[in-house]
Symmetry: C2
Subunit: 213 residues, 2 copies
Amino acid sequence: MQFYDFRLAPSPTKVRIFLAEKNLEIPTVIVNLRKFEQQSAEFLAKVPSATLPALELDDGTVLVESHAICRYFEELHPEPNLMGEGAKEQALVLMWHDMATLEGYLGIQEVYRNGQEYFKGRALAGPQGYEQIEALVDRGRKRVEVFFDKLDRRLGESPYVALDRFTYADIAAYVYQGFAKRAVGTDPAGGRDNLTRWSEMIAARPAVNTATS
Amino acid sequence: MQFYDFRLAPSPTKVRIFLAEKNLEIPTVIVNLRKFEQQSAEFLAKVPSATLPALELDDGTVLVESHAICRYFEELHPEPNLMGEGAKEQALVLMWHDMATLEGYLGIQEVYRNGQEYFKGRALAGPQGYEQIEALVDRGRKRVEVFFDKLDRRLGESPYVALDRFTYADIAAYVYQGFAKRAVGTDPAGGRDNLTRWSEMIAARPAVNTATS
C-alpha cells in the first residue's frame, strides 16, 4: 500500500491526521504540487485525476478523494472510531463533514484559486485548465464567513462538530480552518469564541500536532 | 420520522430512489421549492439550512445532506447493500459518489443557477443571497462535459459506476444525468455509448421507475 501526500495541501492533511489518530503508519510518497509533480506522466498514469491524496492498494486499485480514503481505513481499523457508531452518529458525522466541505472548503478554494497569479488557468484542481473568475474571490469570502458563523453557533451547543466526542468532522473543519487562515488571510477563529475554544482543543491533540507540524 | 421532499429537485430524488431500492416507505411532507416554502418561518425553524432533502427523527434531530440521510437508512436497513461491503467496496462507492457530486453536480448547478432570471440573487442554495456570476454558466458547461466523458470512460470498463453491481454511486450519477438534461438542455448520454447503455439499464429498474415517475 502506498499513500501519496503533500503536507501543505488541505485534503491530504485530513488523511494524515486521520491516520495519526488511528496510530497507523503507511508508506508515503511526497508529490510536490509546487513543482507540478501531479502533472507528470508517471503520476497521471496512476492517478488520472491529478489530485491528492491518493492511496494505491496492493491489488493496484487507486483510491482518490480524502473521504473515501479515510472510510477505507475506518473499515480496516475501526478503533478508535472516528466516523460514528450506529445510524444516527454516522449520519451526523457525514452531514457535518459534507456541510464543512461544500460550504466552507469550496468557499476557501474560490478565494484561493481565483485570486493568485500562481493559479492562472488552473482555477479548479485536476488535469483540465479552467480560467480564473475574479468575482469568485468576493463570493468565496462571503461563503467562508457564513460557514464559520454556522460552525461557531454549532460549537456553542456541542463540544465537538458532529458528536460529543472527536470525529472525522472535527478533522475536516480544523483543516479547513487552517486552510482559510492561509488562503483568505484571516483566522476564522478571530472574534468567534466557540471556534477559538474548540480549535485550541483540537490543536492540542498529540496526533493532530504530529500530523501538521 | 418524517422525510421532507420535492420531486423535481435532484438531491431529494437521490434519497427517494435509495428508499425505493430498499423497499422503505417513510412519511413524507412535500416542500414546494417553486413556491419558496423552504424559506417559510415554519420550515426554517426545523431546517435552518433551507435545503432539501431533510429527515426529522423521532427524537427531534434533523438530518440534512442527501448522503448523510442515505447513510442513516443504509445502517438501519442494510439489505440490499447499496454502499459497499468491506473497506475497498465502501471506499469505491464513496469515491465515485464524491467525484460525481464535486465534478458533475456542482458543474450542472453552475449552469442552472447562474443562467436563469428565476435564480437571480439565489445563485447558491440556502438562506443567504448570492448574486449570479455569468461566467459560471460557461465554466459549468465545460465541467459537465469533462465529468460525463470521465463517467463514460468508466462505464466502458465497469458495468456500474463504482462496483460490478448497482450502488448508491449509480443513484447519484443517474440523478445528475437527468438533472443535466433538464438544466443544461442536452442529454449527456448523447454520443456517449457506455453512458447510454448504463442509463437505460438504470432507468429500467422498478424502484428507479417508481421513485422518478
